[in-house]
């Protein structure tokens, strides 16, 4: 049987480690890891502010939690096609959020993906909303 005093000490140390460790991790992941005003694709920078003038925008309906939301979007493929990527359909793509969250998408999924301009979010109506990426800062190409 573990003595109570010793148990309390062990638990206290573990709890402090959890709070400090998770607190530091939370702080680090809360710092944006790139410029929130632009999306970088293959070295090309696209400003969120000019997104709907640079590319054709569409109104896209998608479910976000319990809400049915209409987003003003541009096609992700429009950004990719404008970025001088050779054989775009031969690659996979990693959509990167400012918090470090990354999701890898196939070309097929990318062709069904949008960037919601106001929300700065990559949305994929056919993919679990959990895999949508908030505050997109980069679309990285993975060599096929």
């Amino acid at each position: 049987m573990v003595e109570r005093g010793r148990l309390n000490v062990v638990l206290a140390i573990a709890a402090v480690a959890v709070l400090v460790g998770s607190g530091i991790t939370l702080a680090v992941t809360s710092v944006p890891q790139g410029d929130l005003n632009v999306v970088i694709v293959n070295g090309f920078e696209y400003s969120w502010m000019n997104m709907n003038t640079t590319f054709t925008s569409y109104m896209v309906e998608a479910d976000l939690k319990e809400d049915h939301v209409i987003f003003e979007c541009v096609l992700i493929t429009d950004l990719i096609n404008a970025s001088q990527i050779q054989n775009p359909s031969q690659h996979t793509y990693v959509v990167v959020g400012s918090d470090g969250y990354e999701v890898t998408f196939t070309w097929y999924q990318i062709t069904h993906g949008y960037l919601a301009i106001t929300e700065k979010r990559a949305i994929f109506p056919d993919v679990a909303a959990r895999n949508w990426v908030r505050d997109v800062i980069e679309i990285r190409i993975v060599e096929g």
Binding site: V18, S22, R130
Partner: protein, 236 residues
Amino acid sequence: MEGIDKRRIWAGIVLFGSAWGLLECVLGSIRMPGGLEAFPMGAVLGGMFGLGIMSYTRRIYGVMWMQLGMGIVAGFLRFWAPVGTCVVCSALAIVAESLVFELIFNQSVLSIRSFSAEGAGGRAKAAMKTLVPLGIIAGYVIYVTGYAFTQVFTPIVTGSGFMMADFASVVPLILGRGFYAALCGAVALPAAVLIQQLDVDVAKVSVRKYYVGAAAGSAMCWALVFALFLPRILGM
């Protein structure tokens, strides 16, 4: 637990599992306002409500593995609220959270009943010294497990394919957001175990009151979920 009829325990599993499932469905579906959009509601659900309900039922029933049963009931109810694309994953994550609770609190040295008795015997301060850090650790581990579980199983179940690199990128987020669950656990566990006003001797509640109350409470939780989410269930 000696002294409590097994049928009462089953009724308790259904009642409290349903209440937990209702909270998961309703609070889990809330979209936070702009600015707070990144706040992880799951941390409050797991660290505060999940841990709180499981700890409270362990206190009043004192039955090991009952909370896993509650997790299964809550997961099954969550299954009927089609919020998010992978409902099965969310349901299974709740079950995983209850399994983690069992693994922690089935250790005799961490018996919730003995802490509760300590509090009732005027030694609440001594119990708090153990329960607060234990709540921090339990809240954190329960949330992190549930979150990681969904991140692994959602891409598998939805067919988009599990990518280790994607999972690796989300691990720091999971570990960081667990901070909120740890704070919630520090409050939820001592509250569920020590607040004397919440004490109920389950074995002494009259048969009629107990079963009518359990049946009505469970039915209300299920009815509410179906009423709130029926349009989604029917695809309307």
